[in-house]
Each structure stands twice: as structure tokens, then as C-alpha cells.
């Protein structure tokens, strides 16, 4: 099957799934007669989203911007760190415990401290996002760089590749699928990081909107913000997946279809 045809088929499946979820949601509301402030009718939520589209889009944009900047910063920090740790044993021994320690640190606890230190601007949000997102990037990239097998090293040596050439020609492309696995996890975490940062101290963004809607028991607005968040998450994830599709063309055909073709 051609990749484009496969993607079209997947898009149809996603759409059907979304319709099914909304239908089940609607049936639940109708059958149980649950109170609107506990679980609102989906169509009330949709019409509210349409009426509030300007402000919702603005809040989504704010959160998206924080997430993207934070994600980009994570990549800029994490990939070189992984390269250094993969290439120098000492850097690995020194760096790895710190990376793990940083990951075990509860980010929700750190966020208020950052707000105290850096105020309500975008910088503390970016820092929270980096703290959340950089770990899966480092770990996956490191795994990718380090899983070059012995014969591959021997091939590099017999071809006369030095260390830099071996890294650029063999280790880096070899690690790309693994790096993208990390990026996909990191992107979803980055969004959570941005929302957590907004919870702690912000005057705009979907996280801030969620918080104020909950304070007013406005569940229709809460659900509007949640759906906006979900869509933002999907779009950001899809962007990384698209980047992977472009950067890793040799993995486009799934293994299951290869086995049948051989």
C-alpha cells in the first residue's frame, strides 16, 4: 500500500473514532440525566466553543507558543548533552546521575519557586517545559547513539572513518528513529509542562483558563478548554510525527507489510 493512501485511510479512522466518542458522551448525558455542571452536553460545549472562539484561540495560541519554545529549548539542551554523554565515558558517568536526579524532581513543586524568582513572564514557563521534556529526549537519543553494534564499528574502521565521520555518517542517522521516539514523548510532556506552569502563575493560556473556569464551577468552559488542549496536543504531536516522516524515510513502510512482501 502507498504511504499517502495509508495516511488517508488513517485520517478516516481518526474521524470515525472522534465521532464515536462524542456520540457515546452524548448518549451518557441523555440516558443518565447527569447534572450539567458535572458532565455537560457535548453540543453545549461545542456551541460555547464556537461563541468563545476568539478568546479560546488566543489562549490556545499562548499555550502553544510556550510549549513550542520550551520544546525547542529542550531539544537544544538535550541533543548536544546526549551526544557528549555518548561520546565521552567521563561525561556519561558525571552527567547521567544529574539527568536522572533532575527527572525525579517533582516539577509541580519547582514551578512556584520559578515564578517567585522570575515572575509571571514566559521564561519560568519555558524552564518548566524544559525540565519536563528534556529527559525523554536525552535518554532516547543516548540509547540511539549507543546501540551501534560492533560490526558497524568495524565497518567504519575498515572504511577509514575517523570519529567525527563515523558519528555523522553512521551513529547519528542510526540514532534518528530512537531520537524521534523521544521527541514524540517529549512533545506531549511539554504541553503538560506548559499547563502546569500556567496553573502556578499566569494570567493567560489554556491552563489559566482551566483554573479560572473550575473556580467558577463553569464546566462548559472547563470542557471547552480541555478540548482545546487535546486538539493542541494532537496537532503538536502530529507535527513531530510529520517531521519524522520527512527525516526518517526508510522507516515509512511498517515491518508487518515488509514481511509479507519479501
Amino acid at each position: 500500500m502507498k504511504p499517502t493512501w495509508r495516511m488517508a485511510r488513517e485520517a478516516v479512522i481518526y474521524f470515525i473514532t472522534a465521532v464515536a466518542i462524542v456520540t457515546v458522551w452524548w448518549i451518557c448525558v441523555r440516558v443518565t440525566g447527569v447534572k450539567e455542571y458535572l458532565l455537560p452536553n457535548p453540543f453545549h460545549v461545542f456551541s460555547n466553543m464556537w461563541n468563545e472562539r476568539a478568546s479560546l484561540l488566543h489562549e490556545t495560541g499562548v499555550t502553544a507558543w510556550e510549549t513550542i519554545l520550551g520544546f525547542a529549548a529542550s531539544v537544544v539542551v538535550a541533543i548536544p548533552l546526549a551526544v557528549i554523554m555518548a561520546e565521552w565515558r567521563l561525561a556519561y558517568s558525571l552527567g547521567y546521575p544529574f539527568v536522572v536526579a533532575l527527572q525525579t524532581l517533582p516539577k509541580v513543586a519547582v514551578a512556584p519557586l520559578l515564578v517567585v524568582a522570575l515572575g509571571f513572564g514566559i521564561l519560568p514557563k519555558i524552564i518548566v517545559v524544559v525540565l519536563v521534556a528534556f529527559f525523554p529526549i536525552v535518554i532516547n537519543a543516548l540509547t540511539g547513539f549507543r546501540t551501534v553494534d560492533a560490526d558497524m564499528h568495524n565497518l567504519g574502521r575498515i572504511l577509514g572513518f575517523g570519529r567525527l565521520k563515523f558519528f555523522c555518517r553512521i551513529a547519528l542517522p542510526q540514532a534518528l528513529p530512537s531520537i524521534f521516539a523521544g521527541l514524540k514523548v517529549a512533545m506531549t510532556l511539554a504541553l503538560i509542562g506548559a499547563v502546569v506552569a500556567e496553573f502556578v502563575g499566569a494570567d493567560e493560556g489554556l491552563g489559566h483558563l482551566l483554573l479560572s473556569a473550575a473556580a467558577q464551577l463553569d464546566s462548559i468552559l472547563s470542557f471547552s478548554a480541555l478540548i482545546g488542549l487535546t486538539f493542541l496536543g494532537l496537532v503538536l504531536y502530529a507535527a513531530v510525527a510529520l517531521l519524522e516522516w520527512i527525516a526518517v524515510p526508510w522507516r515509512r513502510i511498517p515491518e508487518s507489510e515488509l514481511a509479507a512482501g519479501r
Binding site: D151, M152, I158, L176, R262
Partner: protein
């Protein structure tokens, strides 16, 4: 088996020993490879035959003794050689053609000439039409053919093969042995071929170095005097059977095989 004096061998191992940590992997190994010769190293697993190959490739240095290339000691990886491993070791992000061209790039060959050569090589091993396929889309045998093309594209004077057919099924294995025999006749490069298959070694080689372990030592060096080109049916000839039996007898004498069928 010291090399004959006077003539300089293309390659020579002189009294080579290798130790890994405290363990001795090879002891006093000596043999020579003459230019344009097909030499096999034959032995059971764990006898150090792959270690011998990595010594010739310059990927490993001997603990004692000397590895000589055209009379001079080998001091580093033999970048002029071509190497084929047990696994194809293809780069999965490059197409079949791109993989073959990797070694052309590494040797600074002219791109267009290299591509023509690579396409010819691929066609000669039955991979025409698969130039733009990724390795994942090829069968194991096809991947190994591509790996052989990669090792040949820069016209090396020495081809080093480390059990290249070990992971393939018997029929593919025979086909690749036939193809390799033809490639050898066409190119007249020296080939050092590591295998644990007695018929494969006899079928392909001019000289078989029979090794036993451990530590690995050269048990006997057998010259195979069968006419080339060799067809599969050469395996049914009395000469072929005699060479096979000669090698079998060595393993039986060493106790590596026990022919005890009495019930």
C-alpha cells in the same frame, strides 16, 4: 609452516599469538596469502578464526608475532581492503545503491564512475531493479549480496569475509558460493574467507587453513588443486571427497568429532 624465503607474500602471519586479558585465543599461528589467492580459514566455532581475520584486517593487533602486508607490519585498519561480515551490516537509511556507494565515498572515488560500477556489480549478483530499495525491503540473501558489492566497489586487492554465508539457508548459500567463485575469477583479488563449512571451504579455496582450538592453532594447511571455474558438480568428484575426508580426519584426530555410531 613458515613462509618460503625469497618471495614476499601478499600477507603473512608469523608466529602470531593473541591474548584477551589472561586467556590465550591464538597460539603461534603462521600462514601466508599470496596475491590473487583464495584462502579459507576453517574450524569449529571458538577456534579463533574470526580473530585471525581481524588481525589481517588490522582491526586487532597481535600480542606477539607479526602480521605482514607486502613485507611491512600492519599497524592499523586495512582501509584498502573490502570486508564482509556475518551479518550484512547495511545502513538502513541508505538505499541498496547508496550502501554500495558508501565505500566508494569513503575511498574518494569519482561519483559517476562509482555509480556505474556499483550498478554493474549489483546487476552481476542479481540485484538489478533493487538499487533504490531500502535494505529492510530485501531478503537476507539479497542483503548479503549488497554487502559483497559494497566490499568490491572500490576494487580492493584483498577481500575479507567473516562467515558471510553463515546466516543464510542452504540453497542461497550454494548460490552465493557459486557467485563468489565467479567474482573471484573475474577480479583476481585475494580473498580470505572464514567458514565452519568443510564443503564450502573446499569448493571455494586454493588453500584451506584448518584451525583447531582452544587456544586456536593451525592444525594443517591444505592446498586444494581443483580446476576453475568450479561447478556445483565438482562436489561429486572423488578429488573433492578426498579433500573433505582429509579435513574430517583432522577433526576426528583432534577429538572435535567422534564417529561413534556403534549401538
Amino acid at each position: 609452516m613458515t613462509p618460503t624465503k625469497g618471495e614476499v607474500a601478499s600477507f603473512a602471519l608469523e608466529d602470531v599469538s593473541v591474548r584477551f586479558g589472561g586467556r590465550e585465543a591464538l597460539r603461534n599461528v603462521s600462514f601466508r596469502i599470496d596475491a590473487g589467492q583464495f584462502v579459507s580459514i576453517l574450524g569449529p566455532s571458538g577456534c579463533g578464526k574470526s580473530t585471525v581475520l581481524s588481525l589481517v584486517a588490522g582491526l586487532r593487533m597481535p600480542s606477539s608475532g607479526q602480521v605482514l602486508r607486502a613485507g611491512a607490519p600492519v599497524t592499523g585498519p586495512l582501509t584498502t581492503a573490502g570486508m564482509v561480515f556475518q551479518k550484512p551490516v547495511l545502513l538502513e537509511w541508505r538505499t541498496t545503491l547508496g550502501n554500495v556507494l558508501l565505500s566508494a565515498e569513503a575511498h574518494g572515488m569519482d561519483r559517476r564512475a562509482a555509480e556505474r560500477r556499483a550498478r554493474d556489480l549489483l546487476a552481476s549478483v542479481g540485484l538489478a531493479g533493487f538499487e533504490e530499495s531500502y535494505p529492510r525491503e530485501l531478503s537476507g540473501g539479497m542483503q548479503q549480496r549488497a554487502a559483497i558489492c559494497r566490499a568490491l566497489v572500490h576494487a580492493p586487492d584483498m577481500l575479507l569475509m567473516d562467515e558471510p554465508f553463515a546466516a543464510l539457508d542452504a540453497i542461497t548459500r550454494d548460490q552465493l558460493a557459486i557467485d563468489l567463485g565467479r567474482i573471484f575469477l573475474e577480479r583476481r583479488a585475494s580473498i580470505l574467507f572464514v567458514t565452519h563449512s568443510i564443503p564450502e571451504a573446499v569448493f571455494l579455496s586454493d588453500r584451506v587453513i584448518v584451525m583447531t582450538g582452544r587456544p586456536g592453532t593451525v592444525s594443517k594447511i591444505i592446498e586444494i588443486d581443483l580446476p576453475r571455474p568450479r561447478h556445483l558438480r565438482v562436489r561429486q568428484t572423488p578429488d573433492f571427497a578426498r579433500y573433505e575426508q582429509q579435513i574430517l580426519d583432522l577433526f576426528l584426530a583432534e577429538g572435535l568429532l567422534k564417529d561413534n555410531v556403534a549401538v
